[in-house]
Assembly symmetry: C2
Homo-oligomer: 171 residues x 2
DNA sequence: AATAAAGTCGATTAGCTTACTAGACTTTTA
DNA sequence: TAAAAGTCTAGTAAGCTAATCGACTTTATT
């Protein structure tokens, strides 16, 4: 559970939260249904949801007719919150706090840590301003429901960065 | 060796490269001296340098009087290169290539992958434009040499992001 | 009250990754 | 030829990742 790296578990968490966002105000959804619709390992998802519940991002209803639901509307839940709970700080090394300390105290390497902090700030700016509602909206190719997977006509959702085609082969 | 997370090993690599940058054009430097000056585990550093050599970032001179040196001037070596060799792609999940594929093919989750790609692009912009010379220059508190660790008068190097003071405790 | 349907919780696990260390070997200089 | 360097293969303890299992508790329905 270390810095800025979205694990498989983190991706599962984001998918589950998106599913709950799509079904917001439909009451509690069973783990089984989330797992089925998003194709996630049910028992593992159980643990993930528990963590998100302890972090007060979702809430549960126990017993028959129980399940999980978001504690806030999708427009008020940001990707950063989910990622921090499951995968920890957004910084590429340590966390913002310790980086600031290192910048003050490890003079020979401070410039390096400043760059790490810049990277974390850049990531934070993006992830703290993108809500579940934002990505749900962007995914409105009506590809959300069930297994549907048709091709409209070049939907090109969201005015994001254009990736040249080549230039780098990496990440 | 996975996405956007600088490991301890990656930090060692960056420190070693900065040391070589400081001693650029002084000929080959022995592993032992790099390890001593930067306080890195010598045997581990050996492996790191070997990887950087295979990646053609540094070159070695074998035998007595041997050692390591940068293959290019510090102003032409970017942090991204070093991090990619040691810690892999800059994306928070997978790599840029596979994210682009997922954006095209996993319609239900494309918006999520687009955000991941935005994050990787933001990190890449920073790390691909910061050279060893840049951080060496920023560290010109003359704190570079040996164990010196004095305090000048608020050097505040580089016009970077101001961090409010609180607001988040994390990331 | 009994039963079934749900979430809760603790333990366990195979496989991988991380951060090393050890030691034998090769190359080069003096 | 001896000493000083880098090279290379192996090994390893500890921790993490992505799960699974089973027993337990809570709640709704009959």
């Amino acid at each position: 559970m270390n810095p800025m790296r979205v694990s498989q578990k983190g991706l599962y968490a984001l998918q589950a939260m998106m599913m709950l966002a799509r079904h917001y105000s439909q009451g509690a959804i069973r783990i089984r249904d989330i797992a089925y619709e998003e194709n996630l390992p049910e028992k593992f998802l159980e643990l993930i949801l528990l963590e998100l519940k302890n972090a007060r991002i979702v809430e549960s209803v126990r017993g028959a007719k129980g399940g999980y639901q978001l504690r806030h509307p999708p427009s008020e839940i940001y990707l950063s919150e989910i990622i921090r709970v499951i995968d920890g700080p957004l910084a590429p090394f340590g966390d913002a706090e310790s980086l600031r300390e290192l910048i003050d105290q490890d003079l020979p390497h401070r410039a390096l840590y400043q760059v790490f902090l810049q990277v974390r700030d850049a990531a934070a700016r993006i992830l703290e301003s993108t809500s579940l509602a934002d990505i749900a909206k962007a995914s409105e190719t009506r590809a959300g429901r069930g297994k549907s997977r048709r091709k409209k006509k070049e939907p090109r959702v969201m005015p994001m960065i254009v990736h040249g085609g080549k230039g780098f082969q990496d990440a």
